[in-house]
């Protein structure tokens, strides 16, 4: 790949242009003197080929699901069907203004109501608000609903939220931002929430529990029914972090498990671009008990990331009721296929059947000998870049010191999975032979290994 990092301003040459305006443009009414700018606009003067090559080259400095396999754990980097873009880019929608009179945007509102109804059916909850713009935003909104629920009952003592030690980092962070204190519940050796550890934590100060199911180890919390009963009996609510919803689509509903509030990541589970590729959308759904505290009207004012909602709706309708049920089983099959194919090279702390993702704990043979340190999970991740794969999630969850979290999603073919498995095996061989190959990786990327330590210790926060 050719390294490219120019700014378009560097390409400009005086007098060059890629457009010609019609003559009538020059005779357009002049801007009033007091509003006209005094200095010339600093625009790059470039030809059309300059512009096209510039942005094409820049786009090639990127890696995304359109480029290759992206097994980033807990991120559900599934392929984003292009029909989503076509639907969301329809001029009848893109031309709308959020302040248009309601009677002129009935179709757009119908889309929101349709999505609300569909997600309610998928999750087993009553209604959604689409205002939260991403997962953590949804978590905060959801926790505020949880607090409102208690405060409205004059229950002021519930200031704590229980979060499992395997939780996504956003869970305790959102709770802290919401002014709630975090109480950690431990996982058992089999990776599931320890119900016995949970029991004594419950009480009059607990607003609720935040859970991801399947959890970040890719394991279904089988005792969720008992956990829900314990939490509800103690007066608390259950919050569902929807980041791991993908394997349950159309099969199991968080509402039926006993969850009262949840957020979904439309940009994960429902195939809209994310990461560098596009904005998120984190709609929050509630059960009947919390419904009175959801902002009414649910559809009002500005509508969150509308185009993302359209893409998600297009995805759901394209798949339909029957096919959407296949996402989970195929994602689960793919994850287990990789896990079983690599467990003789990589440490597998929890060997049971996983759902959509699983966690390795570094290499079985990291190549450490004499004074040469072994290859770590960071080194494996960097070496994967050399072979053209995006790295998995690393050093998360915090339960294992060399965590390497892999989520292939359902949209990958067996051939892609086999290529990835072959490369992971090759990396394990390299580590056993000479860990320095991994420790100095990546060798083939435009940027080699950044000095993360110096960057974190001495950040340069302004130019």
């Amino acid at each position: 790949m050719k390294y490219y990092d120019k700014l378009i301003f560097e390409l400009g040459r005086k007098g060059r242009s890629g457009y010609s305006l019609p003559k009538s443009f020059a005779s357009a009414p002049a801007v009033p003197e007091n509003l006209a700018r005094k200095t010339p606009l600093e625009l790059p003067e470039v030809s059309e080929p300059d512009v096209v090559r510039h942005y094409t080259n820049l786009s090639q400095m990127n890696f995304g699901v359109d480029t290759g396999f992206y097994p980033l754990g807990s991120c559900t980097m599934k392929y984003n069907p292009k029909i989503n873009e076509e639907v969301a880019n329809h001029p009848l929608f893109t031309g709308l203004h959020p302040l248009q009179p309601r009677e002129t945007v009935k179709g757009a509102i119908e889309m929101i109501e349709g999505l609300d109804k569909t997600l309610a059916e998928i999750t087993g909850l009553k209604h959604f608000t689409f205002l939260p713009c991403a997962g953590a935003h949804g978590e905060l909104a959801g926790l505020m609903l949880m607090r409102e629920y208690h405060l409205a009952r004059n229950d002021f003592a519930r200031t704590k939220v229980i979060v499992p030690d395997s939780a996504h980092g956003t869970n305790p962070a959102s709770a802290a931002v919401c002014g709630l204190e975090i109480v950690e519940v431990k996982s058992r050796a089999d990776g599931l929430v320890d119900v016995e550890d949970l029991k004594p934590l419950l009480g009059a100060e607990i607003a609720g529990i935040m859970m991801t199911n399947p959890n970040t180890l890719g394991l279904f919390e089988r005792e969720i029914g008992e956990i829900a009963k314990l939490v509800h009996d103690s007066g608390g609510l259950l919050y569902y972090d929807g980041a791991n919803m993908n394997p349950l689509l159309g099969k199991v509903r968080p509402g039926d498990m006993g969850f009262d509030i949840l957020h979904l990541n439309l940009h994960k589970t429902f195939s809209t671009p994310h990461g560098g590729g596009g904005p998120g959308s984190g709609p929050v759904g509630v059960a009947e008990s919390v419904l009175p505290y959801l902002h009414i009207p649910v559809v009002s004012g500005f509508h969150g990331n509308y185009s993302v909602m359209m893409k998600a709706y297009a995805y759901i309708l394209m798949l339909g009721r029957e096919n959407i049920k296949m996402a989970g089983p195929l994602a689960t099959l793919n994850a287990n296929y990789i896990k079983e194919s690599l467990k003789d090279c990589y440490k597998l702390p929890i060997p049971s059947i996983c759902k959509h993702e699983f966690v390795f704990d570094g290499l079985i043979n990291d190549g450490a000998h004499d004074d040469v340190p072994g290859a770590t999970t960071l080194d494996i991740a960097k070496r994967l870049l050399d072979y053209g794969f995006h790295a998995p999630t690393i050093y998360f969850p915090l339960l294992f010191s060399q965590a390497l979290m892999i989520e292939p999603t359902e949209t990958e073919s067996k051939e892609t999975l086999d290529e990835f498995i072959a490369v992971m095996r090759k990396i394990a061989e390299e580590a056993a032979e000479d860990p320095n190959i991994l420790r100095s990786a990546p060798h083939n990327t435009p940027v080699s290994r950044p000095d993360e330590t110096t960057a974190a210790r001495n950040p340069i926060v302004k130019a």
Partner: protein, 125 residues
Amino acid sequence: MSKIIEGLLYSESHEWVKVDGKVAIIGVTDFAQSEMGDITYVDLPSKDDDITKDEDFGALESVKASSELLCPVSGTIVAVNEKLEDAPELINEDPYANWIIKVEMSDASELNSLLTAAAYAEIIK
């Protein structure tokens, strides 16, 4: 193999304690720093703060993770190692020479609940 020093006391959350009369000198173990990787920031408490056993008195941040520091004893913080503010890497270089806080203990019997070097070696095996 992580270094463990004879004669110090240890907590299960990987802090070490050196007892100097009524004062407990507290740092983190070699095992802790090697698990954390390159330390990038040490969140320090204020001098004169009162602290209770097993409460957090600060945090370590590394490129990998952030981890709370739990105080192995109760008392009053009488000194804070301010050198760590600008040079968090000192903890990686020598976690035993670079203490984090000194606490004047309010209940020296709490020391009995801490681990000996041999017992600590067992838990990090």
